[in-house]
Subunit: 444 residues, 2 copies
């Protein structure tokens, strides 16, 4: 029997646990799961005979090491900052490791040690990052194989809600950490390349420069640029590509409405508002509008949005003109106050389901002729345990575990799923779970 050791049984581990247990008979696996919350963990394991629940502190090297020593493969679903410490233990004990998270600089530095230990540390194998890498590489490798010249790579992903759950004018609800949604895009300017021109876009213009995308059966989406699009040029082996753009998807007119918050400064997390506690939402909004004698907040706001009724309505929906309640939170940043308003209005209702949308558009040339390949994936959540997020993160991690334990992967060291030997079987098995890409190609 082979032992899989999983650290962390949070929201996005549900499908992973189910996948491992569903395969445990056929594959002769035993699953050890460690989580502080033993109740939730046991409900996820459902008394399965091939699983053991543990509640020791997985963040303590001394406590986890004996379990790593017994395992054949370790999966870390801990918060990303803890992966490197786990990786060091795995190197010392010569055990393979999988994490769904971005490769940090510290993690990358462990590459040669991992190779010497003869193990693979597979990262970025969930969704954005993960399925996006794999599906993109399948197309890029195909174009290279047929002798095409890749001219443009655009890739978008978004964590949204299903059309049935879409009941507000923002066409958005929180399906992951609300704070990260409010602060999304802050920090360094976003960066991309278009027709060999390097472009930088500061945060306060991020939601103004949008790509418009239509996905069959799902309608319109819009994509804003996601951090540094040039990060993967080398990984994807497309260094000389004239156009590369990675974006985040929303439903229109989300970006236009969100941009109002950005323009006004209401997403700022860098300072505390002096009078946060006693402010009403209307006063909160008014603190970012200019003073005009005798002009109401509503009138000032309408003027700001050029009398666009839809934008006004989206703000009214959030209760921003409400003068009857106060925030009641002392020492809060504008971002914190905004988050409080949004959490109330963008909460998933019972029965609501999340949806992961991914879209690639790749242009290449073969001889004299140009082609565009479009590839779209939409994954809808099943319920509030097996969400789209949990499925699209957990399934590729689980399948990767199977491939590694069955010695199907020959790569060693700190890596991510961009090689044929890994993405091909994973994408094939994902299809059995309904995670499929609809591809079309046409001449341009």
């Amino acid at each position: 029997m082979k032992r899989i050791l999983l650290f962390g049984a949070g929201l996005s581990a549900s499908t992973l646990i189910k996948y491992i247990l569903d395969n445990s008979e056929a594959e002769s696996w035993h699953l050890d799961v460690v989580d502080q919350n033993l109740d939730v963990l046991q409900s996820k394991l459902g008394g399965h005979p091939n699983a053991t629940a543990h509640s020791f502190n997985a963040l303590e090297s001394e406590q986890r090491r004996p379990y790593i020593a017994l395992a054949d493969l370790v999966i870390s679903m801990l918060p990303p900052m803890y992966h490197v410490d786990v990786a060091k233990d795995c190197i010392a004990l010569q055990k393979h490791l999988i994490t769904p998270s971005y490769i940090s600089t510290e993690m990358r530095a462990l590459d040669s040690e991992a190779k010497e230990a003869g193990i693979i540390i597979m990262n970025e194998i969930g969704v954005d990052p993960g399925i996006d890498h794999m599906s993109a590489m399948r197309i890029l490798d195909h174009i290279k194989a047929i002798g095409g010249k890749i001219e443009s790579f655009k890739s978008y992903c978004g964590g949204l809600i299903t059309p049935d759950s879409d009941t507000n004018p923002w066409h958005y609800k929180f399906t992951w950490n609300p704070r990260n949604v409010v602060l999304a895009g802050q920090g360094s300017a976003a960066c991309y390349r278009e027709m060999n021109e390097l472009k930088y876009l500061p945060y306060h213009r991020l939601f103004q420069r949008l790509d418009h995308i239509e996905i069959e059966g799902y309608g319109q989406f819009e994509g804003y640029v996601n951090r540094d699009s040039l990060n993967y040029l080398e990984t994807y082996q497309i260094q000389d590509i004239p156009t590369i753009f990675r974006g985040t998807l929303r439903r229109p007119p989300f970006c236009e409405a969100w941009d109002i918050f950005v323009q006004l400064g209401m997403t700022d997390d860098a300072y505390m508002m002096k009078n946060a506690e006693s402010l009403t939402p209307r006063q909160f909004l008014n603190a970012f509008l200019p003073f005009q004698k005798g002009v109401s907040v509503e009138e000032k706001f309408l003027k700001l949005v050029d009398y666009r009724k839809d934008l006004y309505d989206s703000f009214e929906y959030l209760g921003l003109f409400n003068d009857r309640v106060t925030f009641g939170i002392p020492d809060a940043s504008p971002a914190h106050m905004l988050q409080q308003l949004l959490e109330d209005k963008w909460k998933l209702a019972p029965g609501d389901k999340d949806m992961i949308v991914m879209y690639h558009e790749i242009i290449y040339r073969k001889g004299e002729i140009g082609y565009v390949i479009s590839s779209a994936m939409v994954a809808e959540g099943q319920d509030d345990r097996y969400t789209a997020m949990s499925n699209t993160v957990g399934l590729p991690v689980g399948i990767a575990a199977k491939l590694i334990l069955n010695n199907k992967i020959h790569e060693k060291g700190v890596t991510l799923p961009v090689r044929h030997e890994i993405y091909s079987p994973i994408l094939a098995e994902l299809e059995q779970f309904g995670i499929t890409f609809k591809e079309s190609e046409k001449q341009i």
Copy 2:
């Protein structure tokens, strides 16, 4: 003979040194000045019999302490971060200290120790901060004395150039640290109060919300809000004032043109541009403009500025459409690159003079009648040693030194010049040096 010990003989100390030496006979003073640059120092002292030049390291407590022990009063013109250490020595040795800089939190914490030592640590006594406090307090105290109710306090200051030196479309040249000019206003949102409404203005809107000011004989200025205008409510004892606004002055259309840099993200100092070294100014500008097939940088820029010829010309003046030279600086932020372009174009020419402009507008009510007091000061530099900056910083510091050494100030502890006993004689003596406020009052 009384000994004054001065740390730092940089640009803004020239007038201070002259003032002390000019008064040294009548007041029986000896001046000890410490500066690493002995040549510059000796040229400023001009072999005066009542002065001694020293070049020991004033940042080393052990080296400076013996000199502090011999002094009757210490003046620190060191970079602001060093004042607190000097203050600790002054407390230990029971010597008065003057600095022109903002009171830091650490400095404020020394208040009771300074009082126990029986010394005064006088700060914020140059220009913005300094003359602005004193001239404002004179008006505020006057209004309180006649029983007026203060309703609005607006105060502006700017370091500019004289009309004769004004030879470019920006009406601006560097008269102090260029880096600080490029980064001005970045960080926390600016804050002010208008008709009892607290207002926050994020950096990317700072140069869009402007007050327009006319100063007799000097024409038009515009003021943008300067950090947290509410910082001085308590110091000025005007906690309940409905309107308070502190601003920085520029000549129109500086703010409108500068706002283009801000909007495009070209003042960002938070990241390095990937290809800084090889970029031309035109490519640098284009990196922040959207890609448009077949449309030139000039056309895209003209569209951005709504075909405003004056704004286009101000950018052309800076060489931003130049495609023949490269920056040649590796690993540079956009702000750094912009600074390099500006330093070339906004350099003071021989004979150019700087100019400090200050303007207060205070509204008060007495009985049924409202009044507005306007108070303007314009100080022009004499030459490149006795600049307006050097005069307006050095003279109040020098006069304060005289008042302290003659026991005219009874306050102790960490303080700033907001009391009648200090501002009144200083403003009176400043008038002899031509630093005068032109005040007018009218009913509204």
